[in-house]
Amino acid sequence: MQPFTRIRMTLAIALAAFLLLAVSPRDSQARIKLVTLPDRDKITMQLCRGDTTLVEEQRVLNLKRGENLIDFAWQNTSIDGSSVQIRIVEAGGTVNVLNVSYPPGESALTWEVNCEKDGPVLVRISYLIQRFGRDYSYLVTADNKETELTIRCYTTVKNWTGERFADLMVKLGFGSDFTTDLDNLEARKRLSAKFLKIPVRKDYTFDHQWGEYARMFYHIENTKANRMGTFALKSGKARIYIKDSKGEEVFLGEDWGAATPRGETMDLFVGLARDIKIKRKIMENINFNHRGRSLHDNRKVFLFEIENFKDQEITLQLKEHFDGGEWKITKSDMDHEILDTENATFSVKLPARQKDAEEVKKITVQYTVESYNIW
């Protein structure tokens, strides 16, 4: 009977890598006569789209001419068994994977491999693994004048797979790859990229649906012109600090940064601007142009009283919402942009608070909106 060569690879807690070679008759399922113990050559982990993680192990197997059996087992680890595959990278002769057998009740499989010649065969074994978490975070430090930022991008990997990884190369798909040891249940946070002196745009937006105060935002352009734009920024928490006059860092606030591809802008809500006082009033609300039983038009006048207690001039954006019907802004003191049938933005410049002035100047602006064909 044609003898089989049997190699066993097991992934298990504290048995990170052992690979065993055996010679056994074809009809024997006993895994006996184990003679070699090749290690993983290299192991890489690709943090792919979504939460998926692909592991690729590179190993050198010493195969015999003819048919060889290679066992691969993953007790107590979270490998997706249906995803395990073996690829022949380099071999002295033709190597063919003939079939894969899955024994009952075990997290294991056996490849039957036919080899033209005796000798070492470089293979890559890949599989999808679950419970390998990752998250992304940003440490943003603004200079004292809030014109430039230092941005540090961190990646945290969390290993709950049940497996210990030694010399694991983690490929993030952006920034720099890194090699690390990672025990089961261990998490590791690493700096993936750092950007210095990044110009930042700061502005204020008021939306009466958010409450009585305007919100202050930082806008970071992920572009090459802005000394960034080398990769898409992942969604993650950004903690924002500012340097005080002595160079000490003071925490300003934090926000979830949305995924920001190259060329796009990340908007971060830093905090409430309590030095801007805004009062919004409806000064007129009348129906007119009545037709038939209920058909009519409507006119509303909105007025804003705004006081800027800051000692610098700022531009305030006012967000307004409409019912999605047929309407038109017929009159406005402010520059405005109609975003869509439900939203418009008005822009108003607020002068700085005058030093030594007893009262802050109150700015009053208003706009009129007419809605048509209402019933």
Binding site: N96, V97, S101, A232, A259, P261, R293, G324
Partner: protein
């Protein structure tokens, strides 16, 4: 060895058929060959096994038992494959109070000591064995070609070990009026058999199977890798795995079915509210067609691709794999186009707005109530391609009611009665703004067909 009892005993009787007193001789002949034809649409497998039995002249009694298996008793058939008309099956008895057992009475003019053993074939349906196809696709970085590996996996939960069996896999959907698993547990009598179940392995079927077997014989061995020979069979396709395999009870075995390289593909993007809200999805499109290959390389387009899970990876230049998606792929006939959804693509950005709405032609009835009007809506969709490759995008829009696209900055095409789509090519970092006007007639204005 068999895991459960599939007992096959031969008892020779002397005298007439009515004298069934057993003589002390029982044999358990091993299977010579066993062949399984597994259907993936239904839980049914046709098992065909051949054995050599020794007979004496006169009436021979053969007992066949199948305890702890999922064999359909109504399907068991017995046939002679040698010694012509010198042996004849007289009857089949299902003894009372003995489950999962039958007895065949055979009138033999053969004395095996002189004439040799008689080759017999036993066929039956069993349930609990299934097969499934699956695929691994390796998309090249330029998104123009990919490699595709196909596999078949055999799963045995039948209660029986099948050793050194030949496997044939049927791609297609057969019609069954009863489930084999139910029949296996019901113990139906032989008289319940109808001819319909037998039709599957009637003459025409057998001829085609023979051709598949001949094709298999011709298939050259390639480095020990066994070929899977594929042939059309009525509405189905039969995949015959060269050589024999052992699949024990509760084991699974996966075999390579094909491997093609350089398969032309198109990767494109799609925005379809009805499926994915406002998220753009990445799609992979290829055809089950023949394509240009190097000598000795294989190509698609010679057999259907059975439905199964496809796992798609992108292969970078350093041969590193990046996982894209895992999707259930529907059956694809020869020449059929296949779209695989690779999931959301957040580097293709979309911002859609309704810029303006206007109501015109408002009609009132004699009581002054609104009975009809026409809505004019002005839409804008801004798309930005932040992918490193030039990409094609299809934007699908579905509108309710009686509507018409009045004008558009891009050509549009009708998909169905309420869906239109726009198609555009975007270079890396290119931004495209699509604007269009849609008018909708409402109320009694719907009756008017003039726009």
């Amino acid at each position: 060895m068999k895991r459960f009892v599939l007992l096959f005993s031969l008892v020779l009787l002397l005298g007439t058929g009515s004298a069934f007193s057993a003589i002390d001789m029982t044999t358990l002949p091993p299977r010579d060959t066993v062949q399984l034809t597994i259907y993936n649409g239904e839980d049914i497998t046709l098992v065909k096994e051949s054995r050599h039995l020794s007979f004496k002249k006169g009436i021979n009694r053969i007992q066949f038992s199948w305890s702890n298996t999922l064999i359909d008793p109504t399907s068991i058939r017995f046939a002679f494959k040698s010694h012509g008309d010198k042996v004849e099956l007289l009857d089949t008895i299902y003894p009372p109070n003995r489950k999962e057992t039958l007895i065949w009475h055979i009138d033999s003019q053969v004395n095996s000591r002189e004439d040799g053993a008689v080759k017999v074939q036993i066929t039956y349906f069993t349930s609990g064995i299934s097969w499934a196809a699956d695929y691994a696709a390796f998309l090249e970085e330029d998104h123009k070609t990919m490699g595709l590996d196909g596999y078949v996996k055999i799963i045995n939960h039948s209660g029986e070990d099948y050793e050194n069996a030949q496997f044939r896999l049927i791609v297609g959907r057969i019609n069954l009026v009863e489930k084999i698993a139910a029949l296996a547990q019901k113990g139906v009598m032989y008289r319940d058999l109808n001819g319909k179940d037998r039709a599957l392995y009637g003459k025409g079927y057998a001829n085609r199977v023979r051709r598949a077997e001949m094709a298999m014989e011709k298939a050259k061995k390639d480095g020990g890798q066994r070929a899977i020979v594929k042939e059309g069979l009525s509405e189905y396709f039969i995949f015959t795995i060269e050589g024999t395999d052992t699949v024990k009870h509760r084991w699974q075995k996966r075999l390579p079915s094909f491997s093609v390289k350089g398969l032309p593909v198109e990767v494109f993007y799609k925005l379809d509210d009805t499926k994915w809200n406002q998220t753009i999805h990445k799609l992979l499109r290829f055809k089950n067609n023949k394509h240009e290959v190097k000598k000795d390389e294989k190509t698609l387009g010679s057999e259907p691709l059975p439905d199964g899970v496809i796992k798609v990876f992108t292969r970078s230049k350093d041969n590193t794999l990046w996982y894209e998606a895992s999707q259930y792929m529907k059956y694809a006939g020869i020449g059929q186009e296949i779209d695989v959804d690779l999931g959301p693509e957040d580097r293709m950005l979309v911002e859609r707005k309704r810029l303006r709405l206007k109501k015109i032609n408002v009609r009132l009835d004699i009581h002054g109530s609104v009975i009809g009007w026409r809505t004019q809506e002005f839409f804008q969709t801004k798309i930005t391609n932040r992918l490193p490759l030039a990409s094609r995008l299809e934007v699908y829009r579905t509108f309710p009611g009686k509507f018409k696209i009045i004008e558009s900055t891009l050509d549009f095409y009708q998909d169905d009665h309420d869906t239109y789509y726009f198609s555009m090519n975007l270079k890396p970092d290119e931004k495209v703004t699509l604007r269009y006007q849609v008018d909708t007639k409402n109320g009694k204005n719907r009756k008017n067909n003039d726009w």
